[in-house]
């Protein structure tokens, strides 16, 4: 029920922002987020807006539910999208408290704009895996199969993170890939595997995990050449810094790390 009202609040916030030309939002902010409370159990209030990479959808939704269960007066809304889209939205003034990016590049966009509170920390890692339809009908065994022009293959476009990572591993392995399509994001590539329309796609381990039984994952050693680090930070424009920090802490806690591991992510190596 409470969640229903959130879009309205968000719109109201946006209206307030635009109404005063985006110059002063602090007045509206301090009144809406009734902060001033210790971060102990059940003490967090107000609203919290988390911008997170699309690959974090399931894990972060669960963690958000936990935090809301512990703090009944806290409302958390998520904006899950591609990291580059999120970075653009944040630099364009979208009201966000926390940003979790799927790569360092897009986090840098936000930190360079002076919008990150403190230094972002890497909270998880993701590596590429080969996704094949259930039963692996084309008999794909490793990365070298991506050079086979007879197979129908999908990789991400070089403009998006999973595509940049794919380019890296192909380069490191000395393989000239023969893809049939350069997908706009990892989920689109995965959909084509799920439908059995491609023989293999290069996606992240977490995506293979999320896809369930219809997709099988094949690990390959060259993946270590393009480990994707996920940084997280609270934002300077946050209207609810305490809750924002509490969310980041939860993600970095054992609970958060276990949830990430269950979803196919792995702990940061450094």
């Amino acid at each position: 029920m409470r969640l229903r009202a959130l879009p309205v609040l968000a719109v109201a916030g946006l209206l307030a922002l635009t109404a005063c030309g985006g110059s002063t939002s602090s007045g509206a902010a301090s009144s809406s987020s009734s902060a001033a409370s210790s971060s102990g159990g059940g003490a967090l209030t107000g609203t919290l807006t988390v911008f997170a990479a699309a690959s974090l959808t399931d894990v972060f939704t669960d963690l958000g539910d936990q935090l809301m269960a512990d703090n009944p007066d806290l409302d958390i809304t998520f904006n899950f999208a591609g990291s580059s889209a999120l970075a653009t939205q944040i630099t364009q003034g979208a009201p966000a408290d926390v940003f979790a990016s799927a790569n360092q590049t897009q986090m840098t966009v936000v930190t360079d704009a002076g919008l990150a509170e403190g230094d972002p920390t890497v909270f998880t890692e993701n590596v590429l895996e080969i996704a094949v339809p259930q039963g692996n009908p084309a008999g794909v065994t490793g990365l070298s199969d991506f050079a086979d022009p007879d197979l129908t293959l999908a990789i991400c476009a070089p403009d998006v993170p999973c595509g940049a990572a794919a380019e890296q591993v192909f380069e490191a392995a000395g393989i000239t890939a023969q893809p049939d399509t350069l997908e706009e994001d990892v989920r689109a590539a995965l959909t084509k595997v799920e439908l059995g329309e491609v023989d293999a796609a290069l996606v992240y381990a977490s995506d293979v995990q999320a896809a369930g039984d219809q997709v099988e994952g094949i690990e390959f050693p060259e993946a270590e050449d393009a480990v994707n680090e996920y940084p997280i930070c609270t934002l300077t424009g946050s209207q609810n810094p305490e809750a924002a920090q509490a969310f980041v802490d939860l993600v970095e806690s054992d609970t958060g790390q276990q949830a990430l591991a269950d979803a196919g992510f792995r702990s940061p190596s450094s």
């Binding site: 999908a154 476009a157 403009d159 998006v160 399509t181 689109a188 439908l195 329309e197």
Partner: protein, 244 residues
Amino acid sequence: MLPLLGLLVRAPWSQLLPQLAQPQVGEALRLSLVSATLATLVSLVLGVPIAWVLARSRIRGRSVLRALVTVPLVLPPVVGGVALFLVLGRQGILGRWLYETFDYTIPFTTTAVVIAETFVAMPFLVISVEGALRAADARFEDAAATLGADRWTTFRRVTLPLVAPGVAAGAVLCWARALGEFGATITFAGNFPGTTQTMPLAVYLALQSNPEGAIVLSLVLLAVSLATLLLLRDRWLGRSGVPT
């Protein structure tokens, strides 16, 4: 109009030429124009008869047919793309047969682009033509019939000229929609430079890494489509004119 103005204001004019010089841009633009035109032609061939059936015939199930024709208008294009997979994909109802019999697959080819665009854009043509047919006076057709013209001759010599403006308007709408098609195309046809990457796909991907480049690309697409539409309009008004 305002968003258009925004594009113009924010356009990095200094980047215009270097962006245009990229071979991928020309390729994507050519592919867009060719596939949108082909999709319009296919829509004309399939859509005009469907519109005729909807407007003139008295067969049962006409309203069901009309609803089916308009479905692509309300369907999110990405869902349309998945639907096309389910029918024409390698594992699809018809596609599997094509694959097993002729070793031919449709997805990830330019054919797939044309099919996706036709699927999404044809309703615009059908609806315009149906409207024109309904507005046209059927008595002209009856008169032609009484003068000995068979149905095909009547359709070709009387009906079509009567509804020509409606067909033209529908074709323009259809072409424009096909040119801007994104969701069904990227889902069903994928995205590969030279074979399936049309301008909207190129714009979307450029937006991920190079927003300024994306603005330039959108402007190119806008300019080309506006120029084409204006040119065609002059043609029509010059040649067939306004029927009096």
